[in-house]
């Protein structure tokens, strides 16, 4: 009995410490946004201010970088999701000797350091007269993000009951109809989460992007460059805004999910 209580308290303590470890830096960062200090810190507290939001708002290059990051992430989605889904389908449905080769080929960028991917993308495309910029950033990131998509979609595909496809064909569906009406709805949740992961992977990517962005700086590359020229709490303000947006999206998603879980009449 007392061992059980000891365990319960230990578990609570552990969870508490874990959350502190996870959220304390974010909390400090958020609070520092409101400190009237030239550096992002909470000590000494020089007085409460909102001026760093104003400064953030006025930072045109930052907004350009953010816009570019979103553009790159969109491009990566358009490229990585179809490639990932197609290779997952190929690897689980087609009988081919090329399977291990294709599997290795798609996964290899995951095992390659991002820096190498960035450098090699840059060197390769320079041969064709294409220099660093949004286009190369999309290509470079998509090489390894496709692999994430493939792995996630494959995991779900392996649980697919192939007789469902056979049943659709048997009932007169064309292979395309069977895919669209039976397999695709089954894969939809996996494709959507893979797309979300792909978006985040692209948005936060730094090491590959660093080499291929050219003048089309992404947000991560821009922030890193600010570290050298001197950070101000405006960066904290940006962090706070991003956190709030994340919480908002997560809440909307969760509410929608709960709504869908409710039994529906027809």
């Amino acid at each position: 009995m007392s061992a059980q209580r000891f365990f319960d308290w230990g578990l609570r303590l552990y969870i508490g410490l874990f959350f502190v470890y996870l959220f304390l830096p974010l909390a400090i960062m958020a609070v520092a946004t409101f400190n009237d200090s030239r550096f992002p810190t909470i000590t000494p507290w020089n007085g409460t201010t909102l001026k760093w939001f104003a400064e953030l708002w006025a930072d045109g290059r930052m907004w350009a970088a953010l816009g570019n990051s979103l553009l790159v992430a969109g491009g990566v989605l358009c490229l990585a999701v179809p490639i990932g889904v197609a290779s997952a389908l190929f690897l689980t449905t087609v009988e081919s000797r090329a399977k291990p080769f294709v599997y290795g080929l798609i996964l290899s960028p995951l095992l390659t350091p991002g820096v190498i991917i960035g450098i090699s993308t840059l060197i390769f495309w320079r041969e064709f007269g294409i220099n660093g910029g949004t286009f190369l950033t999309v290509l470079g990131q998509a090489t390894f993000i496709s692999a994430y998509v493939m792995l996630m979609v494959m995991a779900r595909l392996q649980r697919f009951d192939r007789t469902l496809e056979r049943a659709a064909l048997d009932l007169g569906a064309t292979p395309w109809q069977a895919f669209r009406r039976v397999l695709l709805p089954f894969l939809k949740p996996a494709i959507l989460s893979a797309a979300a992961i792909a978006f985040l992977q692209s948005f936060e990517n730094y090491n590959t992007s660093l080499f291929v962005v050219g003048y089309d700086t992404t947000l991560t590359v821009y922030l890193a460059s600010k570290v050298r020229t001197g950070l101000t709490p405006a960066v904290n303000a940006l962090g706070l805004v991003l956190i709030l947006i994340t919480i908002l999206i997560a809440s909307v998603y969760e509410l929608k999910r709960r709504h869908e879980l409710k039994p529906k009449g027809v």
């Binding site: 007789t163 009932l171 007169g172 009406r181 027809v266």
Partner: protein, 389 residues
């Protein structure tokens, strides 16, 4: 509407394994036809060849007298009910049933009308809006039937669809399937390893073993006049006593069975003196010697090993004193009451109720199955057999 299915010299080979030996067969339009055989006998392969999921290595399938060569699955006038039913889990009952019509471009109102009709037919009226996951096993079964019938197939293919149901429901669905088949007049081709199912529902049954059809006949004929040792032991239960033919006359054959002497029965296949053959006596044809009484009866002396109570009757397992072979005997309640394990008793049979079949070295069901547990408590409708010594 011609729903006849003709297999014309169909052969199926996978690399160097022959799944289907050359097979020719005609299934009549509107017939309830079953393929019965143990797993691995090729019956599912045959079903896949008819439905179009597999193309035969050689030969042709004709449905309604039209060759199916080169006709893909989705253009064949067949519909399949899968072993696991394969209902679309993300769709409602209506959507499942209407699927085949929807992909054919049938308009919404017609689809719905048809689906409602079919739901009535399978006694599920008013359930169209339910998600498939909300249905019980038996209801899912009915939805699968309705979904297959919706595309108005000439031939309905059923791949052991009842195997997942419990005993009571299985027996109920047998009657229902048979009733639906009569009402619709569609050719049903049923695949099963359960002889009870095949015998109860079918107009004709093809018994298969090792990629070959052993016999095609109506259930009564299969049971009373098996043509091969495999059919004799696979359909219903049989005691097999192997020996050599001594004489063959007037539809009777007499065998010399080592240790047991001369025993006779109806001759069931081409027999000639001196050739190996086996006598098959069903457990219900064996009885305690007092009960037989006539001089025509042949006697066997055996040591009773187990007596299992099975409701209206008892199943005895006894070891023949002369050969140490095990035989199974079905006795009614009265006789069963006095018999105890450890006793020795004499059993007899009427030679008219025993059949002699040539032993051509082809596998019997027993040989294929290998050793089987002696004191089995299998349910009554399961296939039982005597391990050959």
């Amino acid at each position: 509407m011609d729903g006849s299915v003709i297999l014309d010299n169909v052969v199926m080979r996978f690399d160097d394994f022959t799944a289907i030996e050359p097979t020719s067969l005609e299934i009549r339009s509107g017939e309830f036809f079953s393929f019965l055989g143990p797993s691995g006998c090729g019956k599912t392969t045959l079903l896949n060849i008819i439905s179009g999921f597999l193309s035969p290595t050689d030969g042709d399938v004709r449905i309604g007298n039209a060759s199916m060569r080169g006709v893909p699955v989705n253009h064949r006038p067949t519909a399949m009910i899968f072993q696991n039913l394969a209902l679309f889990p993300l769709m409602s009952v209506y959507q499942n049933i209407e699927f085949g019509l929807e992909v054919r471009g049938v308009d919404r109102a017609t689809r719905r009308r048809k689906a409602d009709e079919l739901l009535e037919l399978v006694a599920l009226g008013g359930s169209g809006g339910k998600p498939v996951s909300a249905l019980s096993g038996g209801q899912k079964q009915r939805v699968a039937i309705a979904r297959a019938l919706a595309v108005e197939p000439r031939v309905l293919l059923l791949d052991e669809p009842l195997s997942a149901l419990d005993l009571k429901l299985r027996q109920h669905m047998r009657n229902e399937l048979k009733a639906i088949q009569r009402k619709t007049g569609i050719t049903f081709i049923y695949i099963t390893h359960d002889q009870g199912e095949a015998l109860a529902m079918s107009d004709r049954v093809a018994v298969m073993s090792a990629g070959r059809i052993q016999q095609v006949a109506d259930p009564e004929t299969l049971y009373h006049r098996p043509q091969t040792g495999f059919v004799a032991t696979f359909v219903g239960e049989n005691n097999r006593l192997a020996g050599r033919v001594i004489e063959c006359r007037d539809g009777r054959a007499t065998l010399d069975i080592p240790g047991l002497g001369r025993l006779s029965g109806r001759s069931g296949s081409e027999l000639s003196p001196g050739r190996p053959a086996a006598l098959f006596v069903r457990p219900e044809s064996l009885s305690l010697s007092d009960a037989v009484g006539s001089a025509a009866a042949s006697m066997l002396e055996a040591h009773i090993e187990t007596v299992s109570f099975e409701g209206a009757w008892r199943m005895l397992e006894a070891r023949l004193i002369a050969t140490r072979e095990t035989v199974r005997i079905l006795v009614g309640q009265g006789a069963g009451d006095v018999l105890q394990p450890g006793q020795t008793a004499r059993f007899g049979y009427d030679p008219d109720n025993a059949i002699v079949l040539a032993d051509d070295g082809a596998p019997t069901h027993d040989a294929e199955m290998g050793e089987t547990p002696r004191a089995s408590s299998q349910p009554a409708q399961e296939n039982r057999h005597v391990p050959s010594a």
